[in-house]
Amino acid sequence: MKRSLSLLLMGILIIGAVMISGCTDNNAGETDTEVTGADELTAAVGTHGGEPAAGFNPITGWGYNHEPLIQSTLFKKDSNADLINDLATGYTVSEDGLVWTVKIRDNVKFHDGVPLTAKDVAFTFNTAAGAAGDVDLSMLEKATAINEDTVEFKLNDNQATFIHKLSVIGIVPEHAYSEAYGQNPIGSGPYEFVQWDKGQQVILKANPDYYGQQPYFKKLTIVYMEADTAFAAAKSGQIDLAEIPSSYVDQKVKGMKVVSLDSVDARGISFPMQPNTGKKTKDGYVIGNNVTSDVAIRKALNIGIDRQALIDGALNGQGQEEFTGVDKAPWGNKEAIFKDGDLDEAKKILKDAGWVDTDGDGIVEKDGQKAEFTVLYTPSAQERQALAVSVSEEAKKIGINIKPEGASWDKIDTLAHSTPVVFGYGSLDPTDMYLKYYSKSYNPGSYNNIIMYNNSVVDQYLRKAITSTDQNIANENWQLAAWDGETGFSPKGDATWLWMATINYVYIVDEDIDMGTPKIQPHGADIFGNILEWKRM
């Protein structure tokens, strides 16, 4: 009986460990103590992107898509997503669009007291272009400091969207930059770096010499924890602000409110556009999918899926319908939006294209090919799992068999050319569209045009859009690329993706914190985008 006893003990230990971890959290919720002072803020955010592995270095991607806090950028976006000056005081572009001249403020100092000059700006961009970080700077030839407060950017391609690059890369000091910069960053932003306990937290304090408005919160502590731990910590009053899963939206915590922020962060399923002809990429991965390469399948799914049902279910109501991936942006095409959840129309599309259920198993076939494929999702992102499972159930209604499968990004890399993947995209920079649909943008390393889409009409619109310095002409062409009445990348045209919804970012925050007017949240959220407006009431 000794063996039974040890097995019993083992089992009790497992259950016990799980239960206790839950119980302590619950008990801790009873106490309601405020540890931090009034002008200090402790937050558990960025659970999506998490802690930057390479440190707080704009060259390797820190601050791309969100406020870098420690550094400041040349331009930035206000709450309406319009560009405003930050470090820059103005800019001009040459006739041919290849030379950009930017003037910067002349009284700005880094946290160590050294003045910020045009040389630092040029150094930052030249280093970032050479480092091949998260920001695509392939169009930048060279940045040069003309004098103390003027920088000249020479481009090799007249992309007007270059202005967006100028608003995402924080300026680093040339005199204090090294490989280890990310561990001990110096910048000119509203917050000064104090200390970083890897895997736990980073502490920032307000920069007294900041050229802009002084923040209300003098000390900012960002702690890194899993979403559920963060929720428990918020419940026990240890932190003032926590990003929580949308499934926690109905939870009530005394003294705290739940804030749900709209985003442009869309979730969509990529459809490999090429048929599988046995071709392989240079890394030896299979290209193409014989089911998703049929436009009827892609259209039927886009029309048959009920997006609102997905949001109500899989996203706990915390999201909005999405049809083209950029619906809400100024470059989103309203004409491309349609009524979805139309099962009859979806079935008709399939039938007209020759997809019929001949063997009575509920799944349609064509020429011996069953309408079934796998959809990959990353297990760490709960909303992607929920969406993949829900779409699979919805697709059964029109006779398409989608098999969801969890996979790490490493595995997705090997399969993305032949298998649909649940991706997340949401940028306030329209270049994202160019990279996703322009035929020559194909780059498996960054999932650019991973579906291998190639439509010469769309290519023309995209090319015109990205090179137009006139914002209106640019936006018009971005819109035409989605749908021009005959073709486009949107579901009405080639139905290249199945865009489902933009997700809301949900936070639980102290009741007395006034968050001002939050910015439109991009992919990964930018909760501190308007930190200067925040205060306690």
Binding site: L7, I15, M19, S21, G22, D228, A407
Partner: protein, 284 residues
């Protein structure tokens, strides 16, 4: 005998110890068979999501409650246990076959014997869980990866038993006599060795079950092998951890308890079969 003393007072008055053991064993076996059989009757619909009924506490409709996608936890647990038992069955069968082959191989000669001992030592020197993860990733992950990972790591102890048993049998007088009478090696193996070894194989297989199941649960708990939407007991438990701070205790409690019951059941069957097949032990 204390064991018989307590049992004869209970429900099974009027049966002798042997009958009681048989009864108990068949009852537990029936329970396990029912779990596996129920898996064939679970259709996709009852496994699917129902966002209308998310995070419900246990009730008559949902005896184990529901999870964050509104899936019924009772059916999910059944599915997970069925999968565990299936993986356990395949893994322990493969393990047994491996240990028979290696056990017999060790009886062939000195070099073979030291090779088998060396192999056993190698496998025992690497932490069990680590080896399972390595093998399952090496074989491309998925359910096959987990099955093979568990199968290729659990044969060691049974191999040692088989090897020792054969060694001991070889020195027996009647084997020598048999050999002197001119019986062939095959005849000796079948008529003299087998009757001793078969109970070891059966018991070994059954007693390997709990370990295989617990290891399968640990591996899936750590996120290897199966996709997170599939029902496996480890996945269910690791998912439940995320919701404990929200107070959904039933997500961990019932699946954990069920796993415990299944593991203990197998162990009980093993112990009881041992008693039945090995009368000497029945009085211990």
């Amino acid at each position: 005998m204390t064991a018989s003393g307590t049992i004869s007072k209970g429900l099974f008055r009027g049966f002798n110890l042997r009958q009681k053991t048989i009864l108990l064993t068949s009852f537990i076996s029936l329970l396990l068979i029912a779990i596996v059989a129920s898996n064939f009757f679970i259709d996709n619909r009852s496994m699917s999501t129902d966002f209308e009924s998310k995070n419900l506490a246990p009730s008559f409709d949902h005896p184990f409650g529901t999870d964050w996608m509104g899936r019924d936890m009772f059916i999910r647990t059944l599915g997970g246990l069925g999968l565990s038992i299936m993986i356990g069955a395949i893994a322990s069968t493969i393990s047994t076959i491996l240990s028979i082959i290696l056990g017999l191989l060790s009886s062939v000669g000195k070099i073979e014997d030291s090779f088998v001992s060396w192999l056993v030592d190698v496998f025992l020197s690497i932490p069990h869980l680590l080896l399972i993860i390595l093998i399952s990733i090496g074989l491309g992950g998925g359910a096959t990866g987990v099955i093979m990972g568990v199968a290729f790591t659990h044969w060691t102890s049974l191999t040692r038993i088989v090897r020792a048993e054969i060694k001991q049998l070889k020195t027996q007088g009647y084997i020598q006599v048999s050999r002197n009478f001119g019986k062939s090696k095959w005849w000796i193996a079948v008529k003299h060795f087998m009757p001793h070894l078969i109970p070891q194989f059966i018991l070994g297989t059954i007693l390997m079950f709990p370990h295989a199941i617990l290891h399968e649960a640990s591996v899936t708990f750590l996120g290897f092998g199966l996709s997170p939407h599939e029902p496996a007991i480890g996945i269910i438990l690791s998912e439940s951890m995320r919701y404990l701070s929200a107070g959904y205790w039933w997500l961990a409690f019932f699946p954990g308890l069920s796993l415990l019951i299944v593991v203990l059941s197998f162990d009980m069957i093993g112990e009881n079969l041992d008693k039945l097949m090995n009368p000497k032990k029945a009085h211990e």
